[in-house]
Symmetry: C2
């Protein structure tokens, strides 16, 4: 219960910041949730803001490693059903993975207070998914699974509504099942609309 304290602090900070915001979180509560006394925290971080910055570093690095690199792209689906399955798998992960949910909530809450959070928020909420699906849709057009169209526009039209429903799940978790069903229905509708 010593060496990994720094990481445990970051984990607890992500949880508290995402629930109460940076300003709403206090060091006493944060450390006592780890069975520590507040002064012990200052052996690992120089200040509250240093925790915030370390957390952002981690989130940026995690996002880059997981979604940033082109080689991490999923394979181009061979059928419409495969795209639906791929979508639902991604959505299921992103909605149920605690760390990802907390990251999204934190970015939502703090996007107007910190420039780096702002930039990462735009990636998470808008450009990230779009840039991921653009080459996918281009590939599906090449395979004759989708009608010829602007792949970037299609990716935007596809991912933005899904992203809106993911936000709904963050906001009202009790509607998760309903939202998942809506996403699946939307995915089918989209494919029906744009089929070759």
């Amino acid at each position: 219960m010593a060496k990994d304290t720094k990481e445990r602090i970051l984990t607890a900070a992500l949880e508290m910041f995402s629930q109460k915001g940076y300003d709403g979180t206090n060091i006493r509560e944060l450390t006592s949730s780890l069975g520590l006394v507040k002064s012990a925290l200052y052996r690992h971080f120089g200040s509250k803001e240093e925790i915030w910055n370390a957390l952002l570093d981690e989130m940026i690095a995690y996002y880059g490693a997981r979604f940033g690199s082109p080689e991490r792209l999923p394979p181009v689906p061979d059928s419409p059903e495969e795209l639906v399955a791929l979508t639902m798998g991604l959505v299921d992960f992103t909605i149920h993975d605690e760390k990802v949910v907390m990251t999204r909530k934190l970015l939502t809450i703090e996007q107007f207070r910190d420039d780096r959070a702002r930039d990462l928020a735009t990636k998470h909420f808008l450009t990230g998914l779009r840039d991921m699906f653009t080459p996918l849709f281009a590939g599906m057009m090449d395979k004759g699974l989708l009608r010829r169209d602007d792949p970037g526009m299609l990716a935007f039209a596809y991912t933005a509504p899904i992203s809106a429903l993911i936000h709904l799940c963050d906001r009202e978790p009790e509607k998760t099942d309903e939202a998942m069903a809506q996403i699946e229905a939307f995915s089918h509708h989209f494919l029906e609309t744009y089929k070759a």
Copy 2:
């Protein structure tokens, strides 16, 4: 400089809360921006939280008056161009009206801290626009301007991407022109896709 102090406090509170969040706002700064001393505020509101609740009451009432009633619906367009024009008019208003922008930012920031903010956020960000465009699209289908389809699904597919770009403008105002152009392009693409 006396009777309207209560309203001036609410206006200043909306501005500060939307920028720094509820926790990040302090009464001294809020009142001094109005040329008052903090104790004067307590003639009008019993506590900081009472300001917050009054603000939410106002936002809920404003939303209900402006978007909540069915008779406030815009007329069904007579042509695709008219829908684009209607959309761009709405977007232009919602992006440039200071009070609306601040309300949206505030709801974004505080949606996880307050249940009423959470509910209003869902209306602002998801269901409100969708419910507004559903009868519009149904009407356009009746007029033969759109192919027969599920109007609610179309409204969702239309408004969610637009909403995502409105959020982008809130987050990165310097991208407003770009976002407006994207919305217009998306609107045209949507109409081309779903034309009868």
